[in-house]
């Protein structure tokens, strides 16, 4: 069971970036020290109890006779193992800890890209200001280089966490927290909200997708483009998007301006995303229909209302959304 910790997706010990890696090193060191201390204390306790096989004599009151040597030994035990040893271990821990903290304080190289991260009830939004791109639930980064993150909360407090890459930083309304993140190699990593934020806290996931620099640039370029124009097969869905009210909360960018509300995720390129509903469902046509048809069944308490549509309309809407690659 313990070994699985090192390879499970989402494990903080299966590291893919410098921040998680140095933290994991710190953990293994502290674990070693803690185990040593624990075993030492339990050994002392065990010896204390084993001594009872030949217990000390009792005096006329029925109390244990403790000689001068016993008194000295008992006090020495307290001073050495209760005071001296812990002090040394703790100072060593403090030194190592502060060194790690200093190493994590800033990125190893200057970051070229700043991404704005916003926690909403119950989804994450990643904005690339320079490219005017809003990417819900998918944080794309170039592999092998650091990026800066500016983290905010839109409504309540959330916490940004990608165990394989970095620890948590809270997304707090009215405050901007800045940090950096680096994935050493291309890959996909699970992230999720770690501060309880309401009913769908459990399903407030996202993906960090690290790509080679050229693939990342291509992705960013594609995301910056407006939505694909609808063709005859998708036109009914496009009309439904406006007519059924989706547009009140969701934006789809046609041309240079966005059309729609800001409450829910931007859907301009929703068809190209890997998952739906904050990393709850794989992005398939069937899942899209199921999610739009009854979001409360999949994520009870989500702010997305069920839209009254018949099966054909649902299919048309899903087909249209899936066409937005």
């Amino acid at each position: 069971m313990a070994l699985s910790a090192c390879s499970a997706p989402g494990s903080m010990l299966d590291t893919h970036g410098p921040k998680a890696e140095q933290t994991a090193t710190l953990w293994w060191l502290m674990l070693g020290a803690a185990l040593a201390v624990f075993l030492l204390v339990m050994l002392l306790l065990g010896l204390a109890l084993l001594r009872q096989r030949r217990p000390p004599a009792v005096d006329e009151r029925g109390l244990a006779r403790v000689g001068r040597l016993g008194r000295f030994g008992a006090n020495a035990l307290v001073v050495v193992f209760g005071l001296a040893v812990p002090s040394v271990v703790l100072v060593a821990t403090l030194v190592w800890d502060v060194r790690t903290l200093a190493a994590l304080a800033g990125p190893p190289a200057p970051a070229r890209l700043t991404i704005s991260v916003t926690g909403h009830q119950f989804w994450w939004e990643f904005r690339y200001a320079e490219a005017d791109v809003a990417s819900p639930s998918e944080l794309h980064v170039p592999a092998g280089e650091p990026v800066l993150l500016e983290i905010r909360g839109a409504d309540v407090i959330h916490s940004f966490w990608v165990p394989q890459l970095m620890g948590k930083l809270d997304a707090i309304p009215g405050q901007t927290n800045t940090t950096w993140l680096q994935a050493d190699t291309p890959g996909t990593f699970r992230g999720q909200c770690a501060e309880f934020c309401g009913e769908q806290h459990a399903h407030m996931g996202f993906l960090v997708i690290a790509e080679p620099a050229d693939e990342f640039a291509a992705w960013l370029d594609a995301q910056g483009r407006p939505a694909a124009p609808s063709d005859p097969s998708t036109a009914p869905g496009a009309q439904l998007f406006a007519r059924a009210g989706c547009i009140a909360c969701h934006t789809i960018r046609y041309g240079t301006t966005g059309v729609g509300g800001q409450l829910g995720p931007d859907l301009t390129h929703v068809g190209g995303r890997r998952t739906l509903a904050s990393n709850t469902l794989d992005n398939t046509l069937g899942n899209m229909e199921g999610w739009i048809g009854n979001p409360q069944a999949i994520r009870p308490g989500t702010l997305m209302p069920a839209v009254p549509l018949d099966a054909d309309e649902l299919r048309a809407l899903a087909v249209y959304l899936e066409s937005l690659k």
């Binding site: 069971m1 499970a8 997706p9 989402g10 494990s11 903080m12 998680a20 140095q22 933290t23 710190l26 953990w27 502290m30 803690a34 201390v37 204390v41 339990m42 002392l44 306790l45 204390a48 217990p55 109390l63 244990a64 403790v66 016993g70 030994g73 008992a74 006090n75 035990l77 307290v78 209760g82 005071l83 040893v85 812990p86 002090s87 703790l90 800890d97 502060v98 790690t100 903290l101 309540v156 916490s159 966490w161 165990p163 620890g167 948590k168 809270d170 707090i172 009215g174 405050q175 927290n177 800045t178 909200c193 770690a194 501060e195 309880f196 009913e199 769908q200 806290h201 459990a202 009870p300």
Partner: protein
């Protein structure tokens, strides 16, 4: 190896001993029947109810936990919907913290204090009753949320903005806040009871150096509750104001700050852990010497460690906030402090081990639970040391690793010692021993169940499972650890049921062996009385020469001849009223005799009305709340009103102010009530300090303070009011001086003038409020300003009531040259309120004008 209990059957069980129907016994008996049941102020029966009540809350919290564990037994389970799951973890955490752990420690202390200090009762018996009723009603109100289906669901630390009205519009959070307030009132009230009992009511000869470790732990706990629970009270008050009265302390859109809540909450929340843990180590420190048959190794080290822990625990709250984006340098400081607090714990643990190593150990149930504590707590302490590391904390905070950690600390550090203490003292409390074999089984089932339940959670956390999720996805390696945790949780629950079975069988059904006075052959004073202790506690108050008088002293009534005469004379006189000794703070020299009140229904009435006030506020029935508040105030005034025997100065039959050479009309630091006032003022000071902290915290984070468009009100009227309070304090000082010299005219004039001046202050402040040019609900500045200024109004209003009562008593002729404590207390009150206004003046009116 023969057990201690088998070896020691020295004294016959209490029931077989002759029970003389004498005057002492009579005056201390609260009577029988239904009325007496509700009116009793004896700590024995009250603690029995107290423990039963909080144990029921504990079982409810446990059932909530088992429901959650059932939901998490497999991935994507649909047993509970997220709404119910969120409500359950909120109720579980809040119940275990506020309705079980802290009250259980208070209950132990209230029971053990009189026998252990060698006093006949707690210093404020009616307060004991009041606090129990308050806790009961508060707990019922809190759980009434289940009945109306409006449960809190923001977690036990209820972070804003999630818990604010915008995101939690239902009544759930209000139930949580009000239920919590009532539980906090019970905790803060206990501070008075316990600290004054320990500081002023110890037996003759019990100097601080001879004081048992348990009493040290309770003293430290009491001070920590004073400085810890008051901030909690203030931040829950601020949230109530934000939710229903339009203030903006935590609203970022109007200059407020969500992190202010976290700071105030954790300034309470971290010491809270030690508020529960320190008395638990106190329990352990009493049990180990008994079962190791030798005095504790390093007694002074342990005292020092407890005090150090108490201080340090107030310097680490930020380690709950490492992920909120605070400056790294500041966080390193809190890392160092968090690591440092492991040192006093290490000293205590090793002192316990050294005592066992050099003693003659007998392995009975209480000791087994202590050994379980050593194992589990050391484990949890070590994961706590890891959490002090900022980078590691970033990874595991708010994950199941933290859930595992604090359950190791709390169940190891608190629940195992609680069970050890229950097995150890139940014979004293009930007069019967619990079944030993069942007790051992109880321990092993709980120990195994606990570790099986919580050890795998470390792994779940490392694998990336956040806490407070109602479900998790398959394929992340989380299935197995969660399933094992759930199985373990049910085994742990079975262990708790075994305890319930043992208590029912041994005590309620009476199958347990009757307990002698000292069934474990312990050395501390708490085992000197019969089991259970009779209402009068000690007939002959003991004289103490040792830390372990039952081991080291042949008799408990030997020593200084004057003291021997005193304690024997004290058995027979006074017996018309309940008398207890007051002794000096450090050396335990008898200094006075205090009259303790008898049974009364007023505490019950006052507690009930307090609950009505809160329940009425829930439903915005302000008139009902005001009415109930007035009834409560009346009940409290009636309760404090001196009875005829005291106001007619007949405490001594001959009309003298002394008995056995000791004063009976106490004043100054000798009087428990003087300390009661001092503590009240401290509570007020800490409460106000929280608002001042909030004011400056918001000021520092604001771009402009006061914000543009809002002007700080003029300083002229507040200055005039400072003058009013100055004259008021002087007139009260004059009144006190006069009464001490036997002059009634000065007393009457001074106290009456005081009332007029207090009223004048309120009038002037009313004029001032009208000239503010803003209301408190504009933004964070006006909220902080209005609340702090309003607090002064509340203080003055309260002073008006207190002053009115004392003036009335003065006119009725209740005071003379040796009976003037109430006048002194009111003088002290006004001195504080004047000083408080000076501080408020500087903070609110002067500091924004400084360049």
């Amino acid at each position: 190896m023969a057990t201690v209990a088998q070896q020691q059957q020295l004294a016959p069980p209490t029931a077989e001993r002759p029970q003389p129907e004498d005057a002492l016994k009579q005056v201390w008996t609260d009577g029988h029947g239904l009325r007496a049941w509700f009116a009793t102020v004896q700590n024995g029966p009250i603690v029995y109810r107290f423990m039963t009540t909080v144990f029921v809350f504990f079982l409810m919290g446990g059932v909530e936990a088992l429901a959650m564990r059932s939901q998490l037994a497999r991935p994507e389970n649909t047993l509970l919907d997220p709404e119910l799951y969120d409500q359950l973890f909120t109720m579980h955490g809040s119940t275990m913290m506020f309705l079980f752990a802290v009250p259980m420690m208070e209950a132990f202390a209230e029971f053990l204090l009189p026998p252990m200090v060698g006093s006949r009762e707690l210093p404020f018996p009616r307060m004991t009753a009041f606090l129990y009723w308050v806790l009961l009603f508060g707990g019922v109100l809190f759980n009434a949320a289940f009945l109306v289906g409006q449960l809190p669901d923001s977690g036990w630390f209820a972070y804003v903005p999630l818990s604010n009205i915008q995101f939690s519009p239902g009544l759930g959070i209000d139930f949580w806040l009000l239920g919590l307030d009532v539980a906090q009132i019970a905790a803060i009230g206990d501070v008075f009871e316990l600290s004054v009992g320990i500081l002023r009511m110890r037996a003759p000869g019990m100097s601080l150096a001879r004081m048992p470790l348990y009493l040290w732990s309770i003293l430290v706990m009491a001070f920590m509750m004073l400085f810890g629970f008051v901030p909690l009270f203030m931040c829950t008050l601020m949230l109530q104001l934000d939710r229903h009265w339009g203030t903006h302390f935590f609203d970022p859109a109007a200059g407020g700050d969500p992190l202010l809540w976290q700071h105030l909450f954790w300034i309470f929340g971290h010491p809270e852990v030690y508020i529960m843990f320190i008395p638990a180590t106190g329990i352990v420190a009493m049990i180990i010497p008994t079962f190791a048959r030798r005095p504790m190794v390093g007694h002074r080290w342990i005292v020092l460690a407890m005090v150090a822990t108490g201080f340090l625990s107030f310097g680490l709250w930020v380690h709950h906030m490492f992920a909120t984006g605070l400056p790294l340098l500041g966080m390193s400081f809190f890392t160092a402090a968090s690591l440092m607090i492991a040192i006093p714990s290490g000293v205590q643990i090793l002192a316990f081990i050294a005592t066992l190593a050099s003693g003659r150990v007998s392995f009975e149930t209480p000791l087994l639970f202590v050994l379980g504590f050593l194992f589990v707590f050391v484990f949890g302490g070590l994961s706590g040391v890891m959490l002090a590391s900022v980078p590691f904390d970033w990874q595991v905070t708010d994950s199941f690793f933290v859930v595992a950690h604090f359950h190791y600390v709390l169940i190891g550090g608190l629940l195992f010692p609680t069970f050890a203490g229950l097995y150890y003292w139940m014979p004293k409390l009930s007069g019967r021993l619990l079944h030993e074999g069942l007790g051992k089984l109880n321990f092993w089932v709980m120990f195994v169940g606990f570790n099986v339940a919580f050890f795998p959670m470390h792994l779940s956390g490392l694998l990336g499972m956040p806490r407070r999720v109602y479900t998790y996805a398959p394929g992340l390696g989380l299935e197995l650890p969660n399933l094992i945790s759930t199985l373990g949780a049910f085994v742990l629950g079975l262990g708790v049921l075994l305890f319930v079975g043992n208590v029912v069988d041994s005590i309620y059904l009476g199958h347990g062996r009757p307990a002698s006075d000292n069934p474990w052959y312990a050395g501390s004073l708490d085992w000197a009385t019969p089991s259970p202790p009779p209402d009068e506690g000690y007939r002959v108050v003991p004289i103490v020469h040792s830390r372990l008088p039952l081991w080291d002293q042949e008799r408990l009534d030997q020593g200084d001849p004057a003291w021997v005469r005193l304690v024997h004379a004290f058995e027979h006189y006074p017996v018309k009223w309940r008398a207890s000794l007051v002794t000096s703070l450090t050396e335990g020299v008898p200094e006075g005799i205090v009259r303790l009140p008898g049974p009364s229904l007023l505490p019950l009435l006052a507690a009930f009305m307090l609950m009505v006030v809160f329940a009425a506020e829930l439903y915005n029935a302000h008139l009902l709340a005001i009415g109930a508040g007035l009834v409560m105030a009346g009940a409290v005034i009636r309760w404090m009103w001196p009875p005829a025997i005291e106001r007619e100065r007949r405490l001594d039959d001959a009309g003298r102010p002394t008995i056995h050479g000791l004063p009976v009309y106490l004043a100054g630091p000798r009087a428990p009530a003087w300390w009661g006032m001092l503590w009240t003022l401290l509570v007020m000071a800490v409460g106000s300090g929280c608002l001042i902290f909030g004011y400056y915290y918001l000021a520092v984070r604001a771009p402009a303070w006061p914000p543009p468009g809002v002007e700080t009100p003029g300083v002229l009227l507040p200055l005039a009011n400072l003058g009013v309070l100055g004259v008021l304090s002087a007139s009260m000082a004059w009144a006190l001086r006069s009464v001490r010299r036997g002059s009634t005219a000065g007393l009457l004039l001074g106290t009456t003038l005081g009332l007029g001046l207090a009223a004048l202050f309120l009038v002037l402040q009313g004029v001032e409020f009208a000239h503010w040019g803003f209301t408190p609900d504009v933004d964070a500045y006006t909220s902080a300003f209005g609340t702090l200024a309003g607090l002064q109004t509340v203080f003055v209003l309260l002073g008006l009531v207190l002053g009115g009562v004392v003036a009335a008593q003065a006119w009725l002729g209740y005071f003379n040259e040796w009976r003037f404590l109430a006048v002194e207390n009111v003088r002290n009150y006004w001195l504080f309120v004047s000083g408080h206004w000076l501080v408020v003046l500087l903070v609110l009116y002067v500091s924004p004008r400084l360049p």
